[in-house]
Symmetry: C2
Subunit: 161 residues, 2 copies
DNA sequence: TATTGTTATACTCTATAACTATA
DNA sequence: TATAGTTATAGAGTATAACAATA
């Protein structure tokens, strides 16, 4: 407890090339998967945002467009459940996509309460561009983490939900 | 293109146990590491929040406490850079920790503009409890993804920034 | 009663800009 | 002029509750 203070080992008297003071370490944070997960996730989302800026598409919008494309005619409730998006938030998000004429909501035959969602031809066209930009992002991500690491990560992460 | 429509293969006439309609698939989202990264990250943060609820600590607060513990006496700027927290946000966050008497800001000898950050004795005590709760969270995470997968993920993610 | 979708509110996180006091 | 910290504002994401129409 007291021993440590007795040494006078050239404190603050580093020789050699002047470095900036060592940046603080992470301490016990090093043991938490969540911290590193979050760090990479932030990098990914920021890079995605920049990559998709020409089309002004955000991650949530992108995911909704892809799920509608893969499942045309489904209801908002179904899409929301798949992507874990609150129906309130999804309603506003879809309103935005509707204003850009990328999607339409048609009355569902079966249930007058629910809307069936479809991409419009304009939406399909836009999605082609969007996917091209998203592929560029994914390529940058592969460069950032290394292609092998990217593959390992996606294989590890895909298998549960 | 037209061929697919000609078949009349019992559309909507599934036999066997009545399942709920298939939930929508992810489509091209399956190719994006970011999507799966984000999904797990949300699970982790929610579980962390629940685990730490008894101490009313959030992820950002936790990370700041750990970095101060590992680097006592550093400035807000230094802590903020390490954790990528905006100085404006960090100021308010530290204000909150100060109100709970978990940290103190002393005037730095060298530079009258900057504050040196320390845990208080009360903060150190709190951090012991907090770490215990955080370990429970990490154990639940290990159960959620599998201990082996957790280790693989953390090894893969730790090596860059 | 329960569900679908809408609207409104509130809280957190994030990003900025403006300000002070020091350097 | 640049930096450390503070304060204020605004946007996006998230979580609720209340509501209308329909089941």
């Amino acid at each position: 407890m007291k021993r440590r203070k007795s040494g006078k080992v050239a404190v603050g008297a580093k020789v050699g090339p002047r470095k900036p003071a060592d940046s603080p370490g992470l301490g016990h944070l090093h043991q938490h998967l969540g911290y590193f997960l979050r760090r990479l996730q932030i990098w990914v989302f920021q890079d995605f945002l920049e990559a998709l800026a020409p089309m002004k598409v955000r991650t949530a919008q992108y995911s909704v467009l892809l799920v509608i494309e893969a499942n045309p005619g489904r209801s908002q409730a179904a899409i929301g459940q798949t992507l874990n998006i609150e129906r309130a938030r999804l309603a506003r998000l879809l309103h935005g996509l509707g204003r850009r004429n990328w999607i339409v909501r048609r009355a569902s035959g079966r249930d007058a309460r629910s809307h069936s969602l479809y991409l419009t031809p304009k939406g399909e066209k836009a999605l082609i561009k969007i996917k091209t930009l998203a592929e560029k992002h994914e390529a940058r991500l592969a460069r950032h983490v290394g292609p092998a690491r990217r593959k390992q990560l996606i294989d590890l992460l895909r298998d549960f939900g």
